[in-house]
């Protein structure tokens, strides 16, 4: 058994593809569109509904998740051949929680107000399906370089949807963007739409994004 794995690795090394090969670039671009974690894989929806009432916390949340996914992907990928498969989940959890706690402390230290708004959702990145999913599906079987790229890509894909949803929710729900009162600045009295500020409103916005994305990609339900 062991010789077989060694052989396989040798074969891989022979290819020695550059970090930004065509295949690796896809690791970044795919999650933005055809393999988006929220709109296609429907993972991490809970936090996407919870933190998107305003753009600022959504942006910070996206940043936090990207950092956690990319760095834990990298570390797990480095350790992937030493982790016994029976206890791999708990090892993954330990590493993810290490990064989450670091991010959490950093946010608390430098952007306390936003950290308060995000409340438990930074801590809950530990159980975020996107992070766990990428570790299991990618980092456990790939080299550190591509794994970090994959983590970054999925973080960007998540962040992109978060910002799109937060943009519409904050603009039409509260009449502002990043806290800047857009309609007031234009001299228009704007009555905020309360539905968009509720989680149900976020669900509808995410649904519309999925609808648009699917009709652009020509998605068809297979029966």
């Amino acid at each position: 058994m062991s010789t077989a794995t060694v052989e396989k690795e040798v074969v891989k090394v022979k290819k020695a593809e550059p970090l930004f090969s065509k295949k690796n670039k896809k690791l970044i671009t795919n999650p933005l569109d055809i393999d988006n974690p929220i709109t296609v894989q429907v993972l991490g929806v809970c936090s996407a509904l919870a933190v998107t009432t305003q753009m600022k916390p959504a942006f910070v949340m996206a940043l936090a998740l990207t950092v956690v996914t990319a760095s834990s992907n990298g570390i797990i990928s480095l350790l992937r051949n030493t982790i016994p498969s029976r206890i791999r989940i708990i090892v993954q959890l330990a590493i993810v929680s290490l990064w989450v706690i670091m991010v959490d402390q950093l946010l608390k230290a430098y952007v306390y107000e936003i950290w308060k708004q995000l409340s438990v959702f930074v801590g809950l990145i530990i159980t975020n399906c996107i992070v766990m999913g990428r570790l299991e599906a990618f980092a456990m079987g790939n080299k550190p370089g591509p794994s970090v790229l994959d983590g970054l890509g999925n973080g960007f894909g998540y962040g992109m949807i978060l910002l799109i949803v937060a943009f519409f929710r904050e603009l039409f729900g509260g009449g502002s963007i990043f806290g800047f009162k857009v309609f007031e600045a234009m001299g228009i009295h704007y009555q905020g739409n309360g539905l968009l500020l509720l989680p149900a409103g976020a669900c509808i916005v995410v649904g519309i994004v999925i609808w648009i994305q699917r009709s652009m990609n020509g998605y068809r339900e297979t029966h």
Partner: protein, 399 residues
């Protein structure tokens, strides 16, 4: 007539295959068949006998059944308008006039926006324009307060048609009632304009009579600390409208509320039209009332708060229960499809309505949420009924 026909014939070739407006064929077809009977006949092969009742006629029957509610509602808008200002001597035509200028714009906005979106989607998706919006467009104004800003009606209608219906595939595919989706949208998006004391149209600068209160029967009853019936009966005496919320007044509908729902009598009249023509299910209508009454009785026995001690029959005439039971719950698309399921579906709507009224202080009226909730559960009820039927028949079978 001949002139119209000529005009249509003149432009028809543009819409046919290869014509320059080929894309808009279905929009053209909808207009043409609205004006003239189409000259299409059934194919040589296949079904030759057809029932005269198609979707257009079905929808028109419901619209006709809503007319009593609409006309009474228009009068009542004016009636409440003058009552709130202490002008008790206003004539019938004055009241109708006030109602007309408040309600007709809402109807117009609802139809223009809704049909506009229907035409848009029909053109984009290349399918004939469905008649489904005829009823929805009339239901939406009837469940709005007379004083609702028109732009909100437009947004709510657009939301309901796009998200409530077209996202699911168009007429006949929607999961929840489209008109109630519009109302629920406004209820959560702009609560200040559709809940609280907004039900009476006053007009700019109009002064209310001293001692006036715009509270609805449901909010009076849910806010009462002693006997809710006594509170209802004494309501209005402070400004000369004695017995405004007496049982008979609430039954006949001389009370503030959404445009079309105040009168239980008119709703029952509409219900009778639906039942006689076979368009609405009497099982659903009956079981909604029965469920609400039964739940009211149950709460009477438990008697946990003053509101739940209110006699059960009061629940049937207050708020929009009758309107919802007759026009919303019977929607054939969103209701259960099995006949047995209709009993459960209706009864649960009634029970949930009274439950929400009695125990949720944030929502004094429960029929909207109860119907939307049961719309979602209707397929599940059908599933159980079908499975029970399968089981029963399997027992009989000898394999």
């Amino acid at each position: 007539m001949k002139f119209l026909r000529k005009q249509l014939d003149g432009i028809e070739h543009n819409f046919e295959k290869g014509g320059k407006w080929e894309k808009y064929y279905f929009a053209y077809e909808a207009f043409a068949t609205f004006l003239f009977v189409p000259n299409k006949t059934t194919a040589d092969k296949g079904v030759q006998i057809r029932d005269a009742i198609d979707m257009k006629r079905l929808m028109m029957t419901v619209v006709i059944a809503m007319l009593p509610c609409l006309l009474f509602g228009m009068w009542n808008v004016g009636h409440q308008h003058f009552l709130a200002q202490g002008m008790f001597e206003a004539t019938m035509s004055e009241k109708l006039w006030i109602g007309t200028i408040k309600v007709v714009p809402i109807i117009a906005v609802s139809y223009i926006v809704g049909l506009g979106i229907e035409f848009l989607f029909a053109t984009l998706r290349r399918h004939p324009v469905n008649e489904g919006f005829l009823v929805t467009g009339m239901l939406i104004p009837l469940v709005m307060p007379a004083d609702i800003p028109l732009w909100q009606v437009a947004i709510a209608t657009a939301f309901a048609v796009i998200i409530g219906k077209e996202a699911f595939g168009g007429t006949g595919m929607n999961v929840v009632n489209v008109a109630l989706t519009a109302r629920a949208f406004l209820y959560f998006a702009y609560p200040t304009d559709i809940s609280g004391e907004v039900w009476t149209y006053l007009g700019d600068g109009a002064k209310t009579v001293a001692g006036y209160s715009g509270a609805t029967p449901l909010s009076v009853a849910s806010g009462s600390v002693g006997s809710s019936v006594a509170d209802l009966n004494s309501f209005g005496s402070s400004w000369g409208a004695d017995g405004l919320y007496s049982f008979s007044n609430m039954f006949f509908g001389f009370i503030p509320g959404s445009v079309g729902e105040t009168s239980t009598l008119m709703c029952l009249l509409g219900g009778a039209i639906l039942i006689i023509t076979g368009v609405g299910s009497w099982k659903i209508i009956f079981s909604v009332f029965a469920g609400a009454f039964g739940m009211g009785l149950l709460l009477n026995m438990l008697g946990t708060n003053p509101f739940s001690q209110m006699p059960a029959h009061y629940h049937l005439v207050m708020g929009g229960l009758a309107f919802g039971a007759v026009f919303m719950a019977t929607d054939p698309v969103t209701a259960t499809h099995t006949e047995t399921g209709k009993w459960f579906y209706g009864a649960l709507i009634g029970m949930f309505t009274v439950l929400i009224r009695s125990f949720n202080p944030a929502y004094p009226e429960g029929i909207m949420l109860a119907i939307l909730l049961m719309n979602v559960f209707a397929p599940l009820i059908d599933y159980f009924v079908v499975n029970a039927n399968k089981k029963r028949r399997l027992q009989r079978a000898t394999v």
